[in-house]
Symmetry: C2
Subunit: 438 residues, 2 copies
């Protein structure tokens, strides 16, 4: 459609002004959707209304705006003040040092969480560390104990990688009945980040690992002295010492100036404000590996070191607390991720799991990264139950709570909730958490 | 290295705790580098120093940190206050409404610019628009003139895409001699953004384009009423009506609540605060298409509608104003991008263009997106001139200024500077803008 336009360039010859218009997957999906006869609002405008001429000049176009200051770090519009990370009312500590705040996933499109909205979880508040005085030590079973300033670390070859980041406690209040209202409360201990740092394998190579060294200890410089044990296998595979996130220095609450990033594993293993790496020949069994972050099993035992975050997904729109704006076309969209690979597919059900349709997975699809899925839905005004089910590149299928119950005991504050999340829609279009009811 | 660790999961069977450790391109590059005998600091620690035991407990680990507030939008550490977008001293307007502020690329790793640092360029300051009252109209040569609220637009099928965003004036002060000091000043009218919005083709389809409709007009709701003409070919190819950037609503200075995104074309065509789209049968020849944003040609004519941003690259570290911290290993890294496709390769020279080596291009490599390149360099302490040269997926090679001079006249405030940027390093390790001197 339209004639070819000759847009000039400095090239001698070039194959036209731009690539030929190839329909992307999402649009194609919608066209298929329309083609199936589930046309939107009578086949005319999906949501727009007829224009009443003449056009009015809006107030903003009649005056000068804010001038540009000499130097600035920009902030969101005042009209977006409701978009914030928040503590939850569902499980609130009396103090707020060992605490968490959650990402507003219902307001996040795409696969990146803005740094101002990346969730927080820490055990003694956020320290305020001067990068000039901070040091990272590597010691224990190594040939040469070393220490590094932040500038030292920045001189090494760096990598930048997109990874999801999720607290093992994400969803722990909502296993059997709906305690939380919004997806921020049910799934908001989750963010998507482009991490930049040094492969931990590079630093291990410099220090020289004793052949007996099969585990490392990671310790933070926070008031809790948060400490975890990580197997050397994972350290040498894809772990990073990160100093930047989403294109700038780490934020204070996310580990500034230096943290570990253990991709795909429960968030607290990626120790923040990292000050010490010790190589040993066995795990240390810290409090965070005995009293916390363990899983009850059916036979009455507790499972340690279950650090992989398994494949999971959630519909972020429509989601709990939202209100559908009328019948007709709605885009249903959400996030999927897996701690062991890429997302292969996401299925969506509109009838509580009886029938499933494959959603469009939007690229780039990356290893251990948030992945966005989308599917068109023509709401006929009847009650419905929406749910999503992800499959990862190993073939693992996201389970239901009933599936999880077969291998684990669901009691108390249970970690590692990767089961399917249902949202119900009533005749008024109100969306509610339907866990345990679908 | 290291024995296999059995990390438990809920899976029946799984192929080990994580994928086998495959060296990424960058690390492999460094190993090759080391293997070539250009070993770093005597083959031991690249930059770390021997650890003096015992380890000290840092001050932050002895006290509680900041508790978590009820609701918060987080900000960078106070120790990062120097990282800001800035006006330039090189070409400063007496007023600061029709003005620009530049992204600190020397501090940005990866391919995303944090929203607080995305560059600004506008013609009458930033308006403060209430999304509830904003309307977008489509009229002119269409079957059915329409208008949309922001909520209307959000109901359409959406896409999220990574694209670079660059002002056509980026680099205009530094064609023939070094006027600017830093890469923020030479190249900082450039940012990397994950845009989310509706394909413009979807809205055009709803309105119904008259077969004579070959151009569209885009008009903003700012005090300048900034207006541009865009060929229908490009509109239907990959253009978006965006309402979000990098995972949240557009920032006020970047077009809140709604803007056009015309991928790969000069930034000002992606009209911000978009209020009107009119379909016509020819371009409108606005002031921004005659008095501004045109290119002088050798024969004394001026070229209009040269809106494609051609393939380009720049080394961001080390870059102007920085200081190398001693001899030995340095990672040389920068950004490459092309308005017509993907980056195929980037070459780097350390001797002012006599010899070139191919850098590692870090994935994901995406269409019309910032792409990060990296290469190891062993600085021997002698003066050097560093430059990068990108090649895109059409085979186009980034030119030198001399190359550009063959087809265009370089005089006055010339737009579309995509030539190679040289940085000189003197014996003290001081890095300087070497345009015109290499």
């Amino acid at each position: 459609m339209g004639r070819m336009i000759d847009v000039p360039s400095d090239r001698g010859s070039r194959p036209g002004p731009a690539s030929t218009g190839e329909l992307n997957g999402v649009l194609k999906s919608r066209r298929e959707f329309l083609a199936r006869g589930m046309a939107v609002a009578g086949g005319a405008a999906a949501t727009g209304s007829a224009l009443a001429a003449p056009l009015e000049i809006p107030p903003a176009a009649r005056e000068m705006g804010r001038p540009i200051p000499e130097a600035m770090y920009g902030m969101p519009s005042k009209f977006e003040a409701h978009v914030a990370r928040r503590r939850t009312d569902v499980l609130k500590n009396r103090q707020n040092w060992s605490d968490w705040s959650m990402t507003p996933l219902q307001h996040q499109p795409g696969i990146i969480t803005p740094n101002g909205l990346v969730f927080e979880r820490h055990h003694a508040g956020t320290p305020d560390i001067d990068p000039k005085t901070h040091r990272l030590a590597i010691h224990g079973m190594v040939r040469q104990p070393l220490q590094f300033t932040v500038d030292d670390l920045m001189r090494y070859p760096s990598v930048s990688r997109f990874h999801f980041h999720e607290c093992s406690g994400n969803g722990l209040t909502d296993w059997l009945k709906p305690a939380s209202v919004t997806v921020q409360q049910t799934h908001g201990l989750l963010s998507g980040v482009l991490w930049t740092g040094v492969p931990l394998s590079t630093l291990m190579e410099e220090a020289g690992i004793d052949p007996r060294g099969t585990w490392v200890l990671l310790e933070g410089a926070d008031g809790a002295g948060h400490t975890r044990s990580v197997p050397m296998e994972k350290v040498l595979d894809d772990s990073l010492i990160a100093y930047a996130m989403n294109g700038e220095a780490l934020r204070p609450e996310n580990g500034y100036p230096v943290r570990a990033v253990i991709p795909g594993w429960e968030g607290n293993v990626s120790v923040k404000w990292l000050r010490r790496i010790k190589v040993g020949d066995q795990p240390w069994h810290f409090r965070s590996e005995t009293a916390r972050y363990t899983d009850p099993m059916p036979e009455g035992k507790w499972r340690q070191f279950s650090m992989v975050m398994e494949c999971k997904s959630v519909i972020t729109s429509p989601s709990g607390g939202q209100q559908l704006k009328g019948r007709g076309f709605h885009e249903v969209t959400g996030l999927a991720w897996s701690g062991v690979g890429k997302i292969r597919a996401v299925d969506v059900s509109f009838d509580g799991g009886r029938n499933w349709r494959e959603a469009v997975v939007e690229g780039p699809v990356m290893d251990k990264s948030l992945t966005r899925f989308k599917i068109g839905w023509n709401w006929d005004g009847a009650p419905a139950v929406l749910m999503s089910r992800a499959v990862d590149s190993t073939g693992y299928v996201q389970p239901s709570v009933e599936d999880v119950k077969k291998s684990r005991a669901i009691m108390g504050f249970v970690q590692h909730h990767n089961a399917i999340q249902p949202w119900s829609v009533n005749e008024k279009g109100e969306v509610r958490n339907a866990i345990g009811q679908a």
